[in-house]
Subunit: 111 residues, 2 copies
Amino acid sequence: MDKQIEIFKALSDATRLKIVWLLTNIDEKICVSEIVEVLEEHQYNVSRHLKILKNVKLVQEVKEGKWVFYYLTPIENEFRQLIQDAIKTIPESQMHNEIKKCKVLLGKREN
Amino acid sequence: MDKQIEIFKALSDATRLKIVWLLTNIDEKICVSEIVEVLEEHQYNVSRHLKILKNVKLVQEVKEGKWVFYYLTPIENEFRQLIQDAIKTIPESQMHNEIKKCKVLLGKREN
DNA sequence: ACGACATATGTGTTTTGGCGCATATGTTTT
DNA sequence: AAAACATATGCGCCAAAACACATATGTCGT
């Protein structure tokens, strides 16, 4: 059950849970600097938290030029699916500012 | 999302996850000394971990004489339900010794 | 009432985890 | 090539969490 413990541990930090929550709700790849802006956390902390999430395979990364985009690792087992479903139940109301900021950001991308 | 973080934190420790896993799989109340025997942990640590699980309302207790029996808090929301379902997917194979010991123990109770 | 049993908790120690700062690495732009 | 930008990471510090030991509290049996 070590794998599962690592997942729970990864999700037991506010910044990391917010990142996974965001990725779950926007259903898009997002780069580090965007997360930094949305969550108003230091870049070095966001990078660190992303590394932790990557290590437990909750997220994956893809480099595009100077950016690194992160996205949810596609579901590969039932445990992950249920955890993901659980995160999906966390209401948007608690993340009003973040989701709004994020949508503005994603909109700007097109230009 | 604080409540959810607290749940994840509570489940991100091996002893605590094992306790919840046991309660999920045996579907019975179980007392502290039985958990101590099954998990081979110190009594004072088991008591402490139970307190943490109780604080986040994952488990509840009922006193019966000199024993205190613990059991899963009845599901009250979707998040809890999905987390519980996720824990249910953790295979018994990783807990062979524990579940065996537990069943022997529960058997002895009848006598 | 006393000893045995079951559980909880106070205290000190050690381990773990997150943070801030500085800096390294790599990429794009001019 | 140099400057600007994007991301990652080494290091030291502090706080939270887990542990061990001792002990307190409460209950049962005799």
